[in-house]
Structures are given as C-alpha cells and as structure tokens.
C-alpha cells in the first residue's frame, strides 16, 4: 500500500541527512525500533549546537547576569544579551528593548493578559480569541476578563478549521480592546490570516497578540511586517531548551503597561515608600532569568538560520502533502483540520480505534505521536470528538517517517479491525 512519491527537485537539494546528523536522539531506538519522531508540535529535538552551548555555559561561563563586576558575570551577561540580539534579528523586532525573555509562550500570554489587562481593560470592554486557541491563550483571558469585568468572545471556525473571517469582522467594534489569536493551530494545522486579522483589529483600535508557538520553527516571522502588537513563542518548539521563551511587544505599549512581576533586575531604585522601575526589557524580567536557556535559544536560532526558513518551509510542505495523501488512503481514517492553508500538523481519527490505543500501538513500533485533546478541548468539542491522534512535522522528518506511520496504522487496524 505504500507508494513512494517521486522525489521533487527541492527535496534532493535539501540536506536532510546532514540535518538529521545534528540531532543525536534521532539515531536512538525505542522498544528496539529506530525512533520515528512525529510529535514536534509538542516539542522539538535538540541539535548538537544547542546541547554544546549549554554545556559550555555551565562549564566555563556560569555566573549571575547584570549584577557582578567580575569576569564571569560579564561573560554570562554578554552571551545572554547576544542571544537577545539574535532573537531580535530572527523576528525582525525594531529594538532589543522589545524582546522579553519569558519562560515560554504560556508565560508570555499571561504577562500580556495580566499587565495589559490591569492597565487598559475596563468593564464592558471586549477581548476576542479564536475557536482554535490553545488553553494557554484562553484561560489567561478568562481570568483577566473576570477580574476587569470585560467580555471574552470567540471567533468561530468552519468544519475545515478555518476562521470565519466575515464573522470576525462583524464582531469588531469600538468595545474591542484586544484580539489574541494563534498563527498556526497546534491541533488542526490551520495557518490563520494574521495580517488581515491585525489590520481589521487595528481599524477599531484594538491591540493584537499573535501566539507563534507553532509558527517560528516553520515559517519566517517578521513582527514589523505583520504589525502585531505582541508575539509570543517557546524556545523548546524551536530546537531550544525548555523553560525559555520570547515575548515581543511594541515599546510604547510595554512602556505604558504596569509591571507583571516584581523583584530583582526589574527595578531602578527601591525604598519602602516607592520603587521606580527599570527600563525595557528588564522591567518585565524580574528575578534571575533562565540564562542558559536564553543562550541555548540563541544557538537554536543560529541553527535554524543555517538551514534557512524558506528551505524548511518548502520541504515541510512537501512532507505534509506526502503524509496527507498517504494517510488519506487508509480506510476509516478521517483527517481533522483541512484548511486550505496548513502547516505540518496532521490530526486524525480512526473509525474503530481510539487515539489513545493508536498511540500505544505506534509507540511499540518506535513511533512517537501525540494523542489526546492537545490542550485544545474547545476544538475537540467543535468537531464532536473526544481526542485525535496527531502527527506533526519538523525539519528533520522524512517521507520514510510517514511510511512507518502508515505501516503502524495498518497494525492498529489489524488489531481493531
């Protein structure tokens, strides 16, 4: 049943073998089978360069930053701030002041919801999110809306998993203060028209946060061309370490917003009567940060730049098409998320087998996929399913990974008939 697609010109120039060699974990086995890693939307594997830079940091550079006059502290501060500069270039932010280190996407969204919310949201104001948001772009807004007496509204989507843009534009009004949307859906793969969303939101004076957790490893992001007000992503989905992420915010907004957390590093002077706050970005970076995480993220960005996001995007689109065609031929398999613009996420259900059982059987074949609701329970409710199985692509996957997946699914069907 497995038919190899003729390899197109692009794939032959894409250096898949040397890319795979950079990821030691891809050479390991699971249950005696070579690892087939298709759970990249959950987290990506780490290349040698990222592993190495973290070890070097702890072996040779470890110190607290922004505080010491001693040599190591200067080195650590330099490396950490250099990484911030790499992020600035990577997303084309105007200034490193607008690039805040956070613990991840979730932390970035919470920062904006809390700080923007406490500074600007009034009773009766409206916040819009979409029907395909990750829980991390739902719950912080529920909390702040409840606190401020604001109203949370949801932009609906259709059966393909595409946002109803006309509906969205009708929902906008002068009451709309904030719109927070995902650029690429982690459970459906939908690529949302964020540029159009931002333009429409700005026309009524609303600010926009884009959740880029699933975007940055797959497509070139230019926050200034996009004209978003905030952009959040996680290092660990971009080949970097866990516990580090980025929040981009436009300077005038960050300046106007109340601090999120108080502590060391975020202050200029403290007396018991009064505290003045540090300049951006430090105003939003209280406490000793994840220094090694930031440096690791910088190395991850260097790695991605070496491969090139244009090449990555094109290669992943080919893989997505290959995988979609292959899985579509499996009887009883239904793909959830069939938007015209999709990134490398294939969510599916099988007629007779629950996703959880699919996951267990595939695991014994060495194949890692995600099963469950993917932290998007409202998406599952929208499609009337309890869960999906999800294969998600990264720059090191191959058509052979999908061949293995298809063969594994055949095994599932043999068991569940």
């Amino acid at each position: 049943m497995i038919r190899r697609k003729t390899i197109t010109k692009h794939s032959t120039t894409y250096p898949i073998d040397s890319i795979r060699n950079e990821f030691p974990i891809l050479g390991t086995t699971v249950h005696g089978r070579p690892l087939v890693y298709l759970d990249n939307a959950a987290t990506t594997q780490k290349p040698e360069a990222v592993l190495k830079v973290q070890e070097t940091y702890y072996r040779e550079q470890n110190a607290n930053i922004h505080r010491g006059v001693h040599h190591l502290s200067e080195v650590a501060t330099f490396e950490y701030e250099k990484a911030r500069g790499k992020v600035r270039n990577f997303i084309n932010a105007g200034d490193t002041k607008e690039v805040l280190f956070t613990a991840g996407t979730t932390a970035g969204i919470n920062l904006v919801a809390s700080s923007f919310g406490r500074t600007f949201l009034q009773a009766g104001d409206e916040v819009l999110i979409s029907a395909m948001e990750h829980h991390s772009n739902i719950v912080p807004w529920q909390l702040i809306c409840e606190e401020r007496g604001a109203v949370l509204r949801v932009i609906p989507m259709d059966d393909n998993g595409e946002l109803l843009m006309d509906e969205f534009e009708r929902m906008l009004s002068p009451r709309t203060k904030f719109v927070s949307v995902v650029q690429i859906s982690n459970s459906l793969g939908t690529v949302n028209p964020v540029r159009r969303i931002i333009t429409a939101a700005h026309a009524v004076g609303a600010k926009v946060l884009v959740d880029g957790a699933q975007a940055v490893a797959h497509t070139k992001v230019d926050v200034r061309a996009m004209e978003c007000d905030f952009y959040a992503f996680s290092g660990h989905k971009l080949f970097g370490p866990t516990g580090i992420g980025i929040l981009y915010g436009r300077q005038e907004l960050l300046d106007a917003m109340k601090p999120y957390q108080g502590g060391g590093d975020m202050i200029r002077s403290v007396t018991f009567e009064r505290t003045t706050f540090n300049d951006l970005p430090y105003k939003f970076e209280a406490g000793t940060p994840n220094i090694v995480g930031g440096i690791g993220l910088g190395a991850a960005i260097d790695f991605v730049n070496t491969v090139g996001l244009d090449a990555i995007g094109a290669y992943e689109q080919e893989l997505l098409q290959y995988g979609t065609a292959l899985l579509s031929r499996i009887p009883g398999l239904r793909i959830i998320g069939t938007a015209a613009q999709k990134a490398g996420v294939i969510s599916f259900v099988l007629e007779h087998a629950h996703p959880h059982d699919i996951g267990t059987i595939l695991d014994r074949e060495g194949i890692a996929i995600r099963t469950g609701h993917h932290c998007t329970q409202p998406v599952m409710q929208r499609f009337g399913i309890p869960a999906t199985a999800r294969a998600s692509i990264s720059l090191y996957n191959r058509t052979a990974d999908f061949d293995a997946l298809a063969a594994g699914l055949q095994k599932v069907q043999e068991i569940f008939g």
């Binding site: 996703p355 959880h356 267990t360 469950g372």
Partner: protein, 157 residues
C-alpha cells in the same frame, strides 16, 4: 505472545466493541463520574444497591479500548456482589495492574480475578494503567460519597 497482543486480547477488544451494561440506570442509589483530564476519557457509573448488594450497575461515556473494556468487565463482575466484595475485588485488581514491570504476578492472583485478569497485560504499559482503573475509581467514589436513597434525578455532568 507479544506485549501488544497481551494488552489487546480478544476479550478486551470484544468488550470494547460491545460493552456490557452500557446504559444509564433510571433508578439508582449511587453514581459518580470518572474523568481523566489528561486524555479526556470520561465515564459515568450508576449503581442500584439493594441493601448491601449491587443489584444493578450501568455506565456510559467515552474513552479508549482499555478504559471502556475495563469498565464493561467491572460492571459484569460486581453485579450481584456485595459492596464489600466489590471493594475487595477492586483492591485485588488494582494490586495486579500496579505491579511493577519485571515483577512477576503469580498466575493464581491473575486467575483469582476471573475475566478481569485479561487486563493484567496493562502493567507492561505504565501510561495505560490509569485507563484500566478509571471506571473502578468512579465505582469507588460512587460507593463512598453518595446518598443511599434512590434518585431519578439525572446525574451531574
């Protein structure tokens, strides 16, 4: 037999396909929800006690083959038993599925579980043990927490 075949035995697949007592009880004395927020598996269990005896039991809900077949087998095996017997059975079942990988479980202990013994294969799959015990926890909660008068009110969701 491979570990997968051990897990997905015919009897389990069969209970999954046609679960027993897969219905809501109109008259019940006890009920409870079993929900695993990590995977979304969700069942409701209804019981009708007659004195100390489980006169009737039903369940409904949604989840994987392991959780559904386990719930189905549970209902078959506790129906007609006393509450104390059911709790004892749960303990035996729980201790078998919780046995660490590599630690042998005596054939007698599996045998003593009757048809429930088919689920013993789950102990090779740590991530799935919660699936096998979900309905049992709901049963336990129903027996522990509830009013004992017959209710025809629909259960909380």
């Amino acid at each position: 037999m491979s570990e997968l075949n051990e897990l997905y035995q015919q009897v389990i697949l069969e209970h999954n396909k046609t679960p027993r007592n897969f219905r809501k009880l109109e008259l019940f004395t006890h009920d409870a929800d079993g929900y695993n927020p990590l995977c979304g598996d969700h069942y409701h269990v209804w019981l009708k006690l007659d004195g100390d005896t489980i006169a009737d039991i039903g369940f409904q809900g949604n989840g994987c083959a392991i959780s559904k077949s386990s719930a189905s087998m549970m209902t078959s095996s506790v129906k007609g038993r006393t509450v104390a017997e059911a709790k004892e059975l749960f303990e035996q079942f729980h201790s078998v599925i919780m046995t660490k990988i590599g630690d042998p479980v005596s054939e007698e202990r599996i045998e003593a579980l009757g048809s429930l013994g088919a689920l013993a294969g789950v102990r090779e799959f740590p991530a799935r043990i919660k699936c096998a015990s979900l309905a049992w926890h709901a049963l336990n909660a129903a027996l522990t927490n509830n009013q004992s008068t017959i209710s025809t009110e629909s259960a909380k969701d």
